[in-house]
Symmetry: C2
Subunit: 296 residues, 2 copies
């Protein structure tokens, strides 16, 4: 099938065709795909990032958000960006227990996106996957990342708003602050807020960030309407400067992905390590070699 045919089939409801298009974003056919999609009528897509430490309840929060947006009649896609994902960048996931309610819903797409290495660089296929999902008439894309290391920066670069999910307890708030999670948060959610200490955690967080802080109990669907409203309010306040800052972070992150996977990098590094090449000269060489004009 051509890309046009795949798009037509996917828009007609073929999950298999959608899956093939989404696989293409991480392949050599990505540019061709994006060129084709350029001519497809696209509705505005809302990209919401959900990040936070392991165990905070990100998947549960996403599951209830999916329900909330489905209740509004929106078509919803979930991209799980997971460096440790056992799904080798191809299969549609149907086996996450929390998502079970949505598995048979044709207007919900759940997919795992592979990342290569865990340091630096936006998972390369994510912006293109969002473009594909927009062309397939999804209204909302929820991106789940684990909020450790680099991934919080990645999600902030692509998503708006970035929602950081934490739990009650001084540890989570302090840790989130130290790990830089609060710097990228547009909305902070204290999940499991029926546990002891939730109010204190909100007060602790209040001292660290000026963004909205919401208490929810995702497993009981409590506070979700307020969260959706906070997301809406955030979008109403969007402006060109913020969009440009996100685009800037995306470009830098994708460039880093290109450089990191450049075939000459290892050789240059070995020469630096041997003392034969100055590290600044090696950097210039890498940037010269990575010039796409010289590598059409």
């Amino acid at each position: 099938m051509t890309i046009d045919e795949l798009v037509a089939a996917a828009r007609g409801g073929s999950i298999r065709a959608a899956g093939r298009l989404l696989s293409m974003v991480e392949s050599s056919r990505r540019d061709e795909l994006l060129d084709t999609l350029d001519g497809v009528a696209v509705r505005a897509v809302q990209v919401i990032g959900v990040t936070g430490p392991p165990g905070a309840g990100k998947s549960t929060t996403i599951a209830v958000l999916v329900s909330a947006y489905r209740g509004r009649g929106k078509r919803v896609a979930v991209l799980a960006v997971d460096p440790s994902s056992p799904y080798s960048g191809g299969a549609l996931l149907g086996d996450r227990i929390r998502m079970a309610a949505h598995v048979d819903d044709p207007d919900v797409l759940i997919r795992s996106v592979a990342t290569r290495g865990h340091l630096g660089g936006l998972a390369e296929g994510v912006p293109a996957a969002v473009t594909v999902l927009a062309a397939l008439s999804y209204d909302v894309v929820l991106i789940e990342t684990v909020g450790v290391g680099q991934s919080e920066i990645e999600v902030a670069a692509i998503a708006d708003p970035a929602v950081v999910v934490l739990n009650p307890g001084a540890g989570d708030a302090i840790q989130a602050a130290k790990a830089g999670l609060l710097e990228v948060a547009d909305i902070v959610v204290v999940n499991k807020a029926d546990r002891e200490g939730a109010d204190q955690t909100v007060r602790d967080l209040r001292a660290e960030t000026g963004v909205p802080i919401l208490k929810i109990v995702a497993a009981k669907n409590e506070g979700i309407a307020e969260l959706v409203e906070a997301v809406d309010a955030h979008l109403r306040a969007d402006d060109p400067a913020r969009r440009a800052a996100r685009a800037r972070a995306q470009v830098l992150s994708l460039a880093q992905s290109v450089l990191r996977s450049h075939p000459d990098l290892d050789h240059l590094a070995a020469e630096v390590a041997r003392g034969r090449l100055d590290v600044y000269f090696a950097t210039k060489s890498l940037l010269r070699l990575a010039d796409p004009a010289d590598n059409p």
Copy 2:
């Protein structure tokens, strides 16, 4: 004064000349400086990174390490890489209380290195600063960074070993693991080990990392000889693969710094934000524009 004259003056003991050379590493004269230093006899310099959460006792640990290396007759430089440094990348610091003992020692140089922005990219001048310090016959360079966000990656890229300083308490160990600090550690130090819980912290850390874990009380100079020995042992075990991995991280980090400060980035990002430019095309444009062959 020419660079040659500055080097001669600095080698003759002029702190002012050394300061001017170190300022040059962040200026447009860096390449010229490195070319000149290429002809200067250089002794091997040992670069030790010290990182960890705020309050762990990094500065105190560095102060006692300075004393230990001075006791061995080594010339020691301290580079404090601090994104929040109030010192605008020029002045030699003499006002850190912990370092007071060393301020009048002509064989100890203490300097703050400015970083531009806090996300991604090795503080650009640091590798060149290390080259300058080697040319000025410093034997040991201690690099202090705050172990939050990106700086732990930076210090691991340039330093060997990277020493992570933590405190007793379950929180510190868990947090260090989650923040990715333990991934970059070559040696872990539990400072303030005379406090309750130090042994438990060591056991907790043992489950997370295979690198040496030492207990010290920096403020009482306890355990420092063992730390210096651990650093020596680490260096004896160095190998080409590890050096190449460090060089690779340095090259990527410097490349990111170049891209991040490229004059066309903001324009490209604005075009992406306006929907006029695809983010992948913008990334290619940035890499094309950043090719140093086109910008001699």
